[in-house]
Symmetry: C2
Subunit: 278 residues, 2 copies
């Protein structure tokens, strides 16, 4: 596996290759990322992964500084998973001048965006830049960051990027906790508590599957259970898979999303629900 | 010359060609556009031109509806100038759904942007879309739309698009009037008056070349002369070529830009000034 740090070297290495499969990450890789790399490899295209902790998508007071940087072990994992090129630029390489041009996505003030101002503009902007550096045919993103995946699909479609976005299923620990680099922030006690978010989303999904359609009641109940267990809730919300807005009456393909804090650690998760159109 | 109306047919026709030279236009072509096409042809790459009157860059009450559509004569002119592919999508092809993702450029509220809210976001967004459809190696834009050229160069650089922007010199009538599709709106009397904008910018350039550095005095004098002659001024402003902001003390490469109305027609023009660094 080649490890490349500059845009210029990346372009030389890729040449006119137009058939790569790309997995952008922020590093500190876990089995969720590795599953995305394996999914990329299954396209049959050469696999490019990137590791870049993007300051543009972190707000004031968020965890940009303490976000774990583990390039050496990450590189070993990527090589073992079949990655061909690792692109790991530093901040000066990605932003040689202040980034004045930004992508302004819709839904930027909704769900996670409501609690992380500027986050999705930062995500879309850096991903557009990475897409232009790599110019892949495929790009793989995990469903764990559901709103991000939704927005990046929209960006590709609305900016007419000739890239196919592949969605990777969320990888989970045995107790249901979605794998996340931020799980590393959790104390042993918090780690034991953490699966409750997923359990509450699952309870909402079951109730909807059983015919409940008062979503706001389900959302409020889940939030109350989490709060009782000591969580601070950002949101628990049932949405349309098609629009990520509150579902229209009778819409079948739903997703329930949640974001909540265990002390200083913010966790997110989601679950797709297909109750059929009716 | 091929004439293509859909993105899909365009991608098929271009195949994996990565070496085209692209000239985006809104049609109603004059010798200024044709000079850009000839400049594109001089790169040695196949030339793609587009004609699309982009609703996203017109504000409420602007001339989107009356902007002249002259596809047949435009196509003849392009073929004669050496264009290989004309891409002429309709609005539904460019915007099959409401354009929720936009490019947010800097300087969007300055100069022309101050008088045309949303204009440069609309320009950058449609040009990014066109760039992704065509994926050219070169793209040619005229200096007549100086702020547009400046912003598109910035967009390419900051989004890492592997495209080289070529700047075309402004083409002028014998009396100095910059060629523009909007000149067609002018009555015979207005057409006679129209070169005054360029003459006033030239007077500012001469004064600066002669050592004058009280730019605001020059700007105010030019605006006063135009107002006396019946123009409504949007702005007359001396700027830095490097930043398009007000120049730093001693900055050598300047540009003077003006925008003003003759009755219902808005004209813009500009002139680069190199007084040397000092």
């Amino acid at each position: 596996m080649q490890i490349i740090h500059t845009v210029q070297a990346l372009r030389v290495s890729l040449g006119h290759a137009e058939d790569t499969a790309f997995v952008p990450t922020m590093g500190n890789l876990h089995d969720g990322h590795i599953a995305l790399v394996r999914q990329a490899a299954r396209t049959g295209s050469p696999v490019v992964a990137s590791i870049f902790v993007n300051p543009l998508q972190f707000g004031q007071g968020e965890d940009f500084e303490r976000y774990p940087r583990t390039l050496t072990t990450d590189a070993d994992k990527l090589a073992a998973a079949g990655c061909d090129i690792l692109f790991a630029p530093d901040v000066a390489e990605m932003y040689p001048e202040p980034q004045a041009f930004q992508v302004l996505p819709p839904l930027a003030d909704d769900l996670c965006g409501a609690f992380r101002p500027g986050h999705f503009a930062g995500v879309c902007t850096v991903v557009l830049k990475l897409f232009e550096m790599v110019r892949p045919r495929y790009a793989v993103f995990g469903k764990k960051d559901y709103q991000q995946l939704f927005l990046l699909k929209g960006m590709v479609r609305q900016f007419n990027l000739p890239i196919k976005i592949l969605a990777g299923e969320t990888q989970r620990a045995a107790d249901g906790l979605a794998l996340s680099s931020r799980n590393g922030y959790l104390s042993a006690t918090e780690r034991q508590e953490a699966p409750r978010l997923q359990h509450e989303l699952r309870a909402i999904a079951s109730a909807i599957a059983a015919g409940e359609h008062h979503f706001s009641v389900l959302e409020a109940a889940a939030a109350a259970h989490l709060a009782e267990a000591g969580w601070k809730i950002d949101y628990v919300s049932v949405r349309s898979q098609a629009t990520l807005r509150p579902p229209a009456a009778g819409e079948g393909k739903l997703v329930v999303l949640g974001a909540a804090w265990l002390n200083r650690t913010r966790l997110i998760d989601n679950l797709e629900i297909d109750r059929g159109a009716f």
